[in-house]
Amino acid sequence: MSNFWTSSIGKKVVMSLSGLFLISFLCVHLTLNLFLIFDNSGELFNVGANFMATNPVIKIVEPILALGFIIHIIWASVLTLQNQKARPVKYNQRNQSQNATWASRNMYILGAMVLIFLVIHLYNFWWNIKFPSLGTPLTEAVVGGVEMEDTYALVAGLFKSSIVYCLLYIAGGILVGLHITHGFWSAFQSIGFSNDIWRKRLEWLAYFFAIVFAVGFSIIPLYFLLGLGN
């Protein structure tokens, strides 16, 4: 494996594997989030969130997940910087819309916007849950005799209190979706799992995941925005 990780293809493999790992995380994340709109009492979501917070496996996966994000971001930055350097004199006129999708040409910008969203998102929820003494303290809820943090109240409270946050979270969902329209199938192409037949299937799957994530994540703030939540 000498020089593999420093080669252009090696770096793309890192992007691909970390990206697919992050997509698998998004699947779990979205499933839990949808509990928010399926049970207005908040019990279902609170149980789910409590399970995630107390499960030892999740405790191990959490730092790996953070590492996945960091690697994906650092490698993307290195690759983008190298790609910028590869064309020292730019074209005067370019007509790129003729040959590639907008998302595929703007993955770094889309990624950067998702990152900005992620920072706000972590501050809103993760920070408050992990460091209640530094942020807004959480109320307690009791579900089935078990005492747990009322994360439902935290999420619902945020969305009910601010239209701006609702719109921001809808935008976040759409940005992730756009990023995945290219990212999903591109990840398979980078590890060599594609050909003329599979490319069409993977592109179709990419749009499927993109729509599921965009709609799935956006529907939650929209639900509260429309006053349907508790």
Partner: protein, 253 residues
Amino acid sequence: MADTILKELTLKIWRQKDAKSKGEFKEYKVHNISTGTSFLEMLDILNEQLVEQNQEPVAFDHDCREGICGTCSLFIDGRAHGPDDDVTTCQLHMRRFKEGATITIEPWRCGAFPVIKDLIVDRKAYDKILQAGGYVSVSTGGVPDANAIPISNDNAEEAMDAAACIGCGACAATCKNSSAMLFVAAKVSQLALLPQGKVEAARRAKAMVAKMDELGFGNCTNTGACEMECPKSISIAHIARLNREFLKAKLKD
């Protein structure tokens, strides 16, 4: 379709004295161009005009003028080999342009393809990648019988599709990352699909990718622009095969 006459066209052309000089765009007018004229013939007409006016003609690459040698280049109105799909610049005709149009003509812009003069770039980088491994080593001897080695029709077809690459450089020129992956993929794929080339497949993939990286080409982000602009419509499925070949080779190390 009968040819008509384009009364006036404005050409905005990149002029650069030599590799070290700083270039600039200059505007020229050409008159009464038949729509049946090829793009390069139109530039020939411009050059005759410039010679008559005692000006330096525009330097541009051309050779076979029938789309098989890969010598012509040019970034025309923001696209490699101009607005038509699946053609080289020499196969592009003036019927694609409208009366009174301003046409922007630039050389390939890619760090690994430095401009030598005007619209001519140095594409030796592609030769260097080929020299790194884009061949099959053979012991000389008698010519083998044509059907001695069985090759499936699918593989033969796919290898032939990859072999259609003429090395014009449009892939790296059009790629937003200046990546040469489609070129390298076509060469690696073409040989890896055939029994004669399989023997050296691992060494070839490693050597050619290493050379490509060393020469300062960018990293592929799978936008697919190369495939769209390739005059031979080489599929990026070959890039997936290159990635596979490279991964396989590195895993064995």
